[in-house]
């Protein structure tokens, strides 16, 4: 019986969730390409506040978050906010159809294989990471609900005002 329990525990071990990149940690690396072919690297935007959002065309809350992200980018662009939306659709046509219906005035990059989602330990769709000017993770949000918009905007404003 004891041996069986040990064996079962060994099976369960690989399933143990890996520690997620948490608030306060340094942001992981990110280097992806926009649909137009422009290369975007997170390290080049040190000193800016980056709102990184992982989305996909089939995710309904993502559709709701786009107009809000558009208004945030316009409102705070001059103060140094960069909104970077990583698309995780396996088929590029899905992403392009979504963008045709719900346009984005912020930067969109493509990651069809989902490698960046893996390294950033994305737990749900959508997930957004607020990265401060010094490259530290300030906030992580999963999902998007309309009543969260104001508190997220306040976090962005605080991040823009702070030097960390």
């Amino acid at each position: 019986m004891n041996r069986l329990l040990i064996l079962l525990a060994l099976i369960a071990l690989p399933a143990a969730p890996a520690l997620a990149a948490g608030v306060g940690d340094t942001a992981p690396a990110l280097a992806l390409t926009t649909p137009a072919g422009e290369k975007i690297n997170l390290t080049e935007h040190h000193g800016q506040v980056v709102y990184l959002d992982f989305w996909a065309s089939w995710c309904t809350p993502c559709r709701k978050s786009f107009p809000w992200m558009n208004s945030m980018q316009e409102k705070y662009r001059a103060q140094g906010l960069l909104i970077l939306a990583v698309n995780l659709d396996e088929a590029r046509a899905d992403a392009e159809r979504f963008l045709a219906e719900t346009p984005a005035s912020f930067t969109v990059v493509l990651d069809p294989k989902g490698e960046s989602a893996r390294s950033w330990k994305v737990k749900g769709m959508p997930t957004s990471y607020l990265i401060g000017r010094q490259g530290r993770l300030l906030a992580i949000h999963t999902g998007f609900r309309d009543h969260e918009a104001d508190s997220r905007e306040r976090q962005i404003v605080d991040a823009l005002a702070a030097s960390h």
Binding site: I11, F54, A56, W58, C59, K123, M125, T127
Partner: protein
């Protein structure tokens, strides 16, 4: 009646070990589905009950066969009226 020959203890043990080994091997094939890989599940054809009218019909047939209202949900006592 001639009793059936009982299997030897050691061969029983080996069988158990083999079964356990095969079970572990099979479980090793389990791969988790990441949150961003669930696009196929979001397609309309993947919904369990797409047409509300069809769902109402199925529920009614089920309820009348079970002889209980809301018989497809768990819990509750309640009347058996039809």
């Amino acid at each position: 009646m001639k009793p059936t020959v009982a299997k030897g203890r050691s061969s029983m043990r080996w069988r158990q070990v083999t079964e356990l080994a095969l079970l572990l091997l099979a479980l090793a094939g389990c791969a988790p589905v990441e949150p961003w890989q669930k696009g196929h599940l979001a397609q309309p054809g993947m919904a369990l009950d797409r047409d509300p009218l069809e769902r109402q019909m199925s529920t009614h047939v089920f309820e009348s066969k079970e002889g209980a209202r809301a018989g497809d949900t768990a819990g509750g006592g309640g009347c058996g009226c039809n």
